[in-house]
């Protein structure tokens, strides 16, 4: 039976529920920017999110959980809005949930049957890209079915999970991983259990303090492997990019609010600093980045099949640097106190940087766009 679609009228009330959830359940454990929520607290919170229905569970009945019904514009709008809201409280947890939901979406569309433990909150995560960047233009050409021999060997290397290490940023609870692999000359999906993965823990990374980073690799004999279609890979990358952008936009909302509030209280130069043109300019640029993110995201709120990966890549290329700049400005508006870990903007800046580095980063996007060709 097809899952029920989300009615337009239900969208805002549902998002209000997410706001309530994030304020009452999430904010208390993430209040101190210098003290990341413990793994235990995140587990409990994730269980609450699962019970509440934000995190997907039973794959037969996805409900309105994140990325559960991406063919429905309202459901997609809900996922974007919810991630934005969650990230405005904590980007790390929002990313963990986004990747968990993405992995569940993938399992559903690929046909991996998840057992009960794999469906537990945070048990499953996904790595959407290869070991570095976006395989230059090769991934785009593969997706557009114009792959050359050179692309094949690039992709074979990019998705060589056996000999290359890939960084994984996830909550410590992760147990299973879905990722694209290059298997016997074709792009495939691998679902693999943590015990089958060679793992090197990394030192605490730049941001997203709630999560850890591991260098991971796994051989082809491990887990389940099935062939991947262009549409599956494209869908995953589209949803991943949407999630990253929504989280980045939510993080910026937080920074914008903090900067605005601080600027209206702090006095320097004989007046509150929001009265100085230098500060007004910074606040305006933060607002502008926010507006750009909203515009782009609302333009991208369409059923999944009507979204082009090229557009999403262009959006990432455009927005991540803008939102990083906004996070920098939020810190700058705060002056010295903004540089301190217990103030807030410092963490937002690190988190925003981390979002920019995810899923291949942004530097190779022009090559991807060019290789994709005209829409």
């Amino acid at each position: 039976m097809a899952p029920a679609l989300l009615a337009t009228d239900d969208l805002q009330p549902l998002l209000d529920e997410v706001t309530r959830f994030s304020t009452t359940e999430m904010a208390p454990i993430t209040q101190r920017p210098d003290l990341p929520a413990s793994a235990e607290a995140i587990s409990k919170l994730s269980q609450a999110a699962y019970d509440f229905g934000i995190l997907p569970g039973d794959d037969q009945n996805p409900g309105f959980a994140l990325w559960a019904q991406p063919e429905d514009a309202n459901a997609l709008a809900f996922s974007i809005g919810a991630l934005k809201q969650l990230a405005s409280v904590n980007a790390g947890i929002a990313l963990a949930w986004h990747r968990n939901a993405l992995a569940c979406f993938l399992a559903r569309s690929i046909g991996f049957r998840l057992n009960e433990t794999q469906q537990a909150p945070l048990a499953l995560t996904a790595i959407p890209t290869g070991h570095h960047g976006l395989a230059r233009g090769s991934l785009a050409r593969w997706l557009r079915r114009r792959v050359t021999d050179e692309d094949q060997s690039m992709l074979a290397d990019w998705l060589d999970r056996n000999t290359c290490n890939t960084p994984l940023t996830a909550p410590p609870q992760w147990q299973n991983l879905i990722w694209p692999v290059w298997h016997e000359g074709v792009m495939s999906w691998q679902l693999v259990h943590r015990s089958e993965i060679a793992i090197t823990p990394c030192r605490p990374q730049h941001g997203l303090d709630e999560l850890g980073t591991w260098q991971v690799s796994a051989g082809p004999a491990n887990g389940e492997i099935v062939g991947a279609t262009q549409q599956q890979v494209s869908s995953m990358l589209v949803l991943d990019a949407l999630g990253l952008l929504a989280i980045a936009a939510g993080t910026n909302q937080h920074g914008a609010a903090m900067a605005g509030e601080f600027a209206s209280l702090r006095r320097q130069g004989g007046r509150v600093i929001s009265q100085h043109a230098a500060v007004q300019t910074m606040l305006a640029k933060i607002q502008q980045a926010r507006w750009e993110a909203e515009m782009v995201l609302s333009g991208l709120t369409r059923p999944l099949s009507r979204l082009s990966l090229k557009e999403l890549m262009m959006a990432r290329q455009q927005l991540h640097p803008r939102l990083c700049m906004a996070a920098n400005l939020a810190m700058q508006v705060h002056g010295g106190i903004g540089y301190m870990q217990d103030c807030g903007p410092e963490k937002l800046l690190r988190d925003q940087n981390m979002l920019r580095f995810q899923s291949g980063g942004t530097r190779e996007i022009p090559l991807f766009i060019h290789a994709w060709g005209e829409i």
């Binding site: 210098d34 890209t129 070991h131 570095h132 960047g133 395989a135 230059r136 090769s138 060997s153 690039m154 290397d157 990019w158 890939t166 960084p167 940023t169 990394c202 030192r203 605490p204 990374q205 730049h206 941001g207 997203l208 980073t213 006095r267 320097q268 130069g269 004989g270 100085h276 230098a278 500060v279 990083c324 920098n328 810190m331 700058q332 002056g335 010295g336 903004g338 540089y339 301190m340 870990q341 217990d342 410092e346 800046l349 690190r350 940087n353 981390m354 920019r356 580095f357 995810q358 899923s359 291949g360 980063g361 942004t362 530097r363 190779e364 022009p366 090559l367």
Partner: protein
Amino acid sequence: MINRAMHLEGHLPADHRLAPHWQFAALPRIAQQITSYQRDDLWASDTRRLPAPLAQLRRRARTFAETYLAPLSAEADLAMHTVPGQHPPAITDMLKVAAREGWLSYFLPRPLGSMSWKRSLYPPVWQSSLVVEEFSRVCGGLMLLLSAHHLGCIPLLLSGDIKVIRRFLAPVYRSCHKGDPHLVAFAITEPGAGSDAEDGHGARDYKPGVVASRCQGGWKLNGRKCFISGGDMARTLTVFAALEGEGMESWTCFYVDAASPGFRVARNEMKMGMRASGAADLEFTEVFVPDSHVIGGLRKGWVLNRASLNTSRIPVASMAVGFARAATEQATTFACRYQLGGKALIHYQDVQQHIATMVAETRAIRSMVWQEARNAWKPRQLNASACKFHATNRAQIVVEMALDLLADQGGLQEQKIEKIFRDVRLTRIFEGTNQINQLSVIEDWQDQLLPLCSPSSAPIGV
């Protein structure tokens, strides 16, 4: 057969007949004198171009940084937030070596300081800029630990009072030479005055937070200073305070002994980067300072403060150069070693462009710093501030480019660039935010700008 080891993709090997390097060898001797196709290391050739005493200083600073700072850098950055003044023994040992080797006393020539007489022909700001770049390149935090001390000493020097120098600065330097690091901190910032402590227009309206009241034989200081680099380890501090009942025009520099009753390091801030150096919150409760410890005279603090900042802002710009350089070096090494699609990233044209831009950006800001530093016998506010805000803004862009090149690996601490980002970020905030430094340029320039507002005035030069 040509292999990748012999040339980068898109480029001919150096011995190819179309390679300029190959043709260069065939040029007449005179032509070879006026053109160059050397394969020198950029750092080495820049160093050679410096006057010999400064070249030697640059080489020594690099050796010291690589020998003593680099091994401590990651650990110092990752260390838990400590209570004020507590440092791992390795850092204390490093400070002792730095003190003995003269890295804490090079603003004055021998026998008072550690500056060689040959070096004294060149502005100390230039010398400091060279040293600071080398130290920042390996660790922002340890660099700050060593450099904030000089800022603390600068008001003593700039007082221009031989007695002050002999009585206060000389013992500091002497103690350092003996391997007993005596650190000095510079304290202007107060909870209510960050920018207002660096900008006259703001200071005009500020009600001073640290106030000196007259008492028998001296002054009693009360109030709080914040964000004071090295304030947790300093034995003495140059503290700026207003005289009781007066405004910021009365600012006076007091030389305060950290062992004085009533002085307390309340806490160290939890910083994003440069974590090896403490940014301390200092409390003054009836701290007695004898008259003899007033530096430069009563009500001479504001000018001393501003002159000190003019002296230190070019070295701050040089910190930024050190960070940009470190990021460029790390990213280039990554690009040469990281394999994608069967070859190192450096073989891809877009990667080459990316790195070339980082190199150019880094060298452009270094040129600016050296240009200003070489003439900084009397550092001018406009030049120092322009150099500070521009170099630090551009340096952060270089560091971000390095992170972008590493993409998914960018956030990993193991790759070292994320730490450089956290370090470089501070340079846009302290020593006056970059916004305040922009205003300082105009403040200094206004005597020329005001006449320009009249249509008949002579043109200005930039």
